[in-house]
Amino acid sequence: MEPPIIIELLGEKFPGEVLASGESLGQSWVSLKRDRLADICKYLKTTPEIKMDYLIDVTAVDWLPRTPRFEVVYHMRSIKHGSSLRLKVPVEEDDPKVPTVTGVWLTANWHERETFDLMGIIFEGHPDPRRILMPDDWEGHPLRKDYPLGGYDWEFKPW
């Protein structure tokens, strides 16, 4: 199924959840509310005609000073049908939470941990919500725009 038709179907199946949609350089994207994200992802994965069985990537973009500040981005693909789709979920700075999709795709686990580690997005219901690349006692989230390139002068406990 072509991505624009999938997006149309999402609008019918989950009324009020689709915020916006469009196409950028031939790649379709759809912006969603966060509340029913896991359900929508499950629907995308399990519906035979769509079958987005392959989650490529989860990440986030910091749009400071725009509001909502963050945008969590999911790239997915159907190995069978060859179509791909980009989901975007805007979240506010003071409430940077989205539901986890680890229950839908196993691979989401580390992607979400990385996004939490570097961007500070909290994935609610994540089975293992720890940092992954930075040390466990690190403060702050380095990929945020207000985090200085050289880091802060902090001392960390020895390993």
Binding site: W29, L55, D57, W63, V73, I79, R86, H111, L133, L143
Partner: protein
């Protein structure tokens, strides 16, 4: 007398020859059986994505060299294609073929080092001596073509850095004529080696559906029989103009992943030979003054070109606002670049979807229930590079 088993915790790495870099595994063992395995990453994290947000688009190319430092040509290519797509740049045909040649040479050199370390981990040390001999020849070819052996930065936005010399083409063709026989040599060393087969067959089995669910790519995905190769599914460079087969595994064990990568080397030779046969003459850089550097001999001759060169190197070029995701089939799997531009000369966000990071996630699932010695077979079979895992 009844005995009770007690689990012990063993720390493997980060300094361990079989973890292929600074990977640390916390193992829970029941005797020699692995109960659980928890990878700890980040020892090589250099913040490449943050650095990229503070550099011009051209300056990011050398950063990409440092992800998977065993196949830099592929990394440069994936990044360049992403930026070109964002800017709508058409690359000259000769550059497409040169890119394909460099990507496939990188693939062979990466697979050779993988084969060397994978076999050595399992006890077949001899293979290492043979594969590194051939890898050295490829590195010399890189030196001839690009001036660098490992971090080549050869593929640039808009084309490639410089044209191939007749000497490079002659030596590369010569190497390609000799190389398939060498692959047969490796096969005779390990393919039916009882110890190698005994330690790889039936180990770390990942089923078809599981492989997709874990997001595996590259040899690890195709080892489980999933027919998915981005060079076929979404062709880039000159892959749509060459013929090659995608080898597939049946059982999804360590042995299948080994067979596939060896076969991929043979296919790479096929691709390179076709590229040399079909490569047209012509320019190797897109003729776009705002992106491509002017010819070096003119930079020293007239002031306008010097100023042009200076501005391009120091200030870079701007990219229209937009976002793009491009995935390329690198030796380890799918390397993806998600670039968001806000119209300035450096990206607002550059996310690197690295295949090693995603494939490594599956390791605890692979080794669970196996013996501790099988962990090294499994790590070898997913072919990770920690520079790419940690970025």
């Amino acid at each position: 007398m009844a005995t009770t088993s007690k689990e012990i915790t063993v720390n493997m790495g980060p300094q361990h020859p079989s973890t292929h870099g600074v990977l640390r595994l916390i193992l829970e063992l029941d005797g020699e059986t692995v109960v659980s395995c928890a990878p700890h990453l980040g020892y090589l994290h250099r913040g490449s994505e943050k650095l990229a947000e503070n550099r011009t688009y051209q300056q990011i190319v050398p950063l990409t060299d440092r992800f998977d430092y065993l196949s830099c040509g592929n990394n440069n290519l994936a990044y360049a294609i992403a930026v070109e797509k964002l800017m709508g740049i058409e690359v000259p045909e000769r550059a497409d073929y040169l890119r394909t040649i460099v990507a496939e040479l990188s693939r062979i050199s990466s697979h050779l080092l993988w084969l060397a370390t994978h076999a050595a981990d399992i006890g077949a040390v001899t293979v290492l001596l043979y594969t590194l001999r051939e890898r050295e020849e490829i590195l010399e070819l890189f030196e001839l073509l690009t001036g660098a052996r490992l971090t080549v930065s050869y593929v640039n936005i808009g084309g490639v850095r410089r044209d191939a010399t007749p000497e490079f083409i002659a030596r590369c063709k010569d190497f390609m004529s000799r190389f398939p026989a060498k692959i047969d040599d490796y096969d005779t060393l390990i393919m039916e080696n009882r110890i190698f087969v005994g330690r790889t067959k039936g180990i770390g089995i990942i089923s078809y559906d599981e492989a997709i669910d874990w997001g595996l790519t590259g040899g690890s995905l195709r080892g489980s029989g999933v027919d998915y190769d981005l060079r076929k599914a979404a062709p880039y460079a000159a892959y749509d103009r060459v013929e090659f087969d995608v080898p597939l595994g049946k059982t999804g064990d360590v042995y299948d992943r080994y067979i596939i990568r060896v076969e991929e080397m043979r296919q790479s030779v096929r691709i390179i030979n076709q590229c040399f046969r079909d490569m047209p003459d012509g320019p190797v850089k897109a003729d776009i003054p705002t992106v491509s550097l002017p010819p070096k001999d003119r930079v020293m001759a007239d002031i306008e070109t010097l100023a042009h060169h200076f501005v391009l190197v120091s200030k870079g070029f701007t990219v229209a606002p937009g976002e793009v995701y491009v995935g390329c089939e690198v030796p380890k799997g799918e390397l993806g670049f998600y670039i968001v531009s806000d119209g300035s000369s450096s990206p607002l966000r550059m996310k690197v979807r690295s295949p090693s990071f995603v494939n490594l996630q599956c390791l605890p699932r692979m080794v669970k229930g196996h013996m501790i010695a099988d962990i090294v077979s499994c790590i070898g079979s997913i072919d990770i590079v920690l520079g790419e895992v940690d970025r």
